[in-house]
């Protein structure tokens, strides 16, 4: 292809000024940006340049990740009962530009009698199917449910729950997701056993603690023990993206407490995991971490007792230096903690008066949803509906 008007002119005219270069750079992934820091000095300090940072933020917010195509937002809310009142989980479908439409969805029949503390695993759906779980003392309920067709399928009990000499274990539902290699739905769970002889012994003196991971496959309709030593979750924030379940942990590999916090990512297809440590400036005893998916990217919202919330986006899985400071939200007075992120740069929070609100990253405005919720018991779910039967097979 011929160059324009003589080759000599091309180089002279080809000078893209720095702010146009920033426009181009703002659309690049974090890995490229870190590499291009070597190009010149001003590019090594991109995230400290407010002009660039604003461009990057604007593009980040407006760039619609395909994960969200055709999705809606569900709010799984728990009330804060007065004494004597019961706990109830209520599921709302939020729609409208400003979430002004809230439609209550009924839970499937297994939860009609007791709708307290229903968990929606990994805050996601697979082909229109959600995985619901409820722990009520000895009673464990786990099922698949398609809210659009109302079909539900109860997941059978695991043969590993009752193992002598142990008492019934503590169960942590860790994740739900899709194995695209086997076209299978899987549920991951952690069981923690205490020796029955230690019943009289104070908790701190339990010597015989054993734990195991188990995975349920819809295709085989059975639970299998996983031969893996993997850190268990330290919180309720568990996600599923592209066949990988993510959570964060302060346990080490054999589940002793109090290791530095890190992201654990479990691949449902090949059943292996990867840890991503947090960079040292993210770790502080006063910090509170909230793992979320922001516009398709794994992110931590980090906050403390002040009204400032920092958002760190993960540049590359497995690389602790790639947590990049992208957003700072301040001040957000009366905001207590995040409850999840939406589809286009909305972050949902709970306020100190129990009101649930959403914050728009592009306009910096906060709006109330018109419903209240209990501390740490409300979650946002990204839902993509489908009329397919559960499992699609």
């Amino acid at each position: 292809m011929e160059k324009s008007m003589g080759a000599t002119n091309a180089k002279v005219i080809n000078h893209i000024p720095e702010d146009l270069a920033f426009s181009i750079l703002s659309k690049l992934p974090l890995k490229s940006l870190k590499r291009f820091g070597c190009v010149r000095r001003s590019w090594a300090l991109l995230f400290e340049n407010l002009h660039f940072l604003n461009m990057y933020r604007n593009y980040f917010i407006s760039n619609n990740h395909s994960y969200y195509d055709g999705t809606s937002i569900l709010l799984n809310q728990t009330n804060n009962p007065l004494s004597g009142e019961a706990f109830h989980s209520t599921l709302y479908l939020l729609s409208g530009e400003r979430f002004e439409n809230m439609v209550k969805l009924d839970w499937p029949p297994p939860f009609h009698e007791d709708d307290s503390f229903i968990e929606i695993l990994s805050k996601t759906s697979v082909n229109g199917t959600l995985c619901l779980a409820q722990k009520n003392g000895m009673d464990l309920k786990c099922l698949f449910w398609n809210p659009t067709t109302d079909e539900f399928k109860i997941i059978p009990s695991s043969p590993f729950l009752y193992q002598s000499p142990y008492m019934e274990p503590t169960v942590d539902f860790n994740g739900f997701g899709y194995d695209h290699v086997r076209d299978d739905y899987k549920v991951l769970r952690w069981l923690c056993f205490f020796n029955i002889t230690d019943v009289e012994v104070p908790f701190e003196d339990y010597l015989d603690v054993d734990s195991m991971w188990e995975i349920y496959s819809l295709r085989s309709n059975s639970w299998t023990k996983l031969d893996i030593e993997m850190p268990a979750s330290a919180s309720n924030e568990k996600l599923h993206v592209d066949g990988v379940c993510h959570w964060w942990s302060i346990h080490d590999d054999i589940n002793c407490y109090d290791s530095p916090p890190r992201l654990v990512s479990f691949d449902l297809c090949n059943e292996v995991f990867l840890t991503t440590h947090l960079s040292s400036d993210m770790i502080d005893p006063l910090n509170i971490l909230h793992l979320t998916l922001l516009n398709g990217f794994i992110a931590f919202i980090i906050y403390d007792q002040t009204t400032t919330f920092h958002i760190r986006i993960l540049g590359e899985l497995g690389v602790k230096e790639s947590w990049t400071k992208v957003f700072i939200l301040e001040p957000l007075p009366s905001i207590e903690h995040p409850i999840g992120a939406g589809r286009k740069g909305e972050i949902f929070f709970r306020k100190d008066d129990d009101e649930l609100v959403w914050f728009d990253l592009s306009t910096q405005m906060i709006e109330e949803l018109g419903v209240k919720g209990r501390e740490h018991c409300c979650h946002i779910v990204i839902y993509k509906d489908s009329l397919l039967p559960i499992g699609g097979f």
Binding site: I13, I16, I24, S32, R35, V39, R40, E321
Partner: protein, 154 residues
């Protein structure tokens, strides 16, 4: 939304003169998409020929075509026809003429092409001189070693 933007109500024609003298007759509503041209018209209402001193005829033609045809489908295929030099010149043109849609499209296209390239390649493409000291650059390369994995060979 896919149709060309010509409408009977805005059939007044305008002439744009590129830097190499090439003349283009365009409808007013097409010309208005170029905010720079719009400002020119706002300043002198009965102007008929507007000079575009920074843009070659070849590129002005492409820009005008873009304005007429832009939609999601067109934009997706648009950038594939041009080499890196032309993309940059088109971006400079779109920037000078202040056409935000075209600027976005071109920035995304250029970003896509350099995404997996080395810093040396990027310097060459944008004609940038490296003002890092060798020690500074070595330090950065070490610190961001993970960002250099899987990069295209130059």
């Amino acid at each position: 939304m896919a149709e060309e933007k010509s409408q009977a109500s805005s059939s007044k024609m305008l002439t744009l003169k590129a830097s190499d003298g090439v003349l283009f007759e365009v409808e007013l509503n097409i010309a208005k998409e170029m905010k720079t041209v719009q400002a020119y018209i706002d300043d002198c209402e009965d102007i008929e020929t507007i000079p575009i001193p920074n843009v070659l005829g070849k590129h002005l033609a492409i820009v005008i075509e873009y304005i007429k045809k832009t939609n999601e489908e067109y934009d997706a295929e648009f950038e594939k026809q041009w080499n890196m030099d032309d993309l940059q010149l088109l971006l400079l043109a779109a920037n000078y003429l202040n056409i935000s849609g075209l600027q976005e499209c071109l920035c995304k296209a250029i970003a896509k092409r350099i995404e997996n390239k080395s810093p040396e390649y990027v310097r060459k493409v944008f004609n940038i001189e490296n003002d890092h000291s060798p020690e500074e650059e070595a330090k950065l390369r070490k610190e961001y070693k993970w960002a250099f994995e899987g990069v295209d060979k130059d």
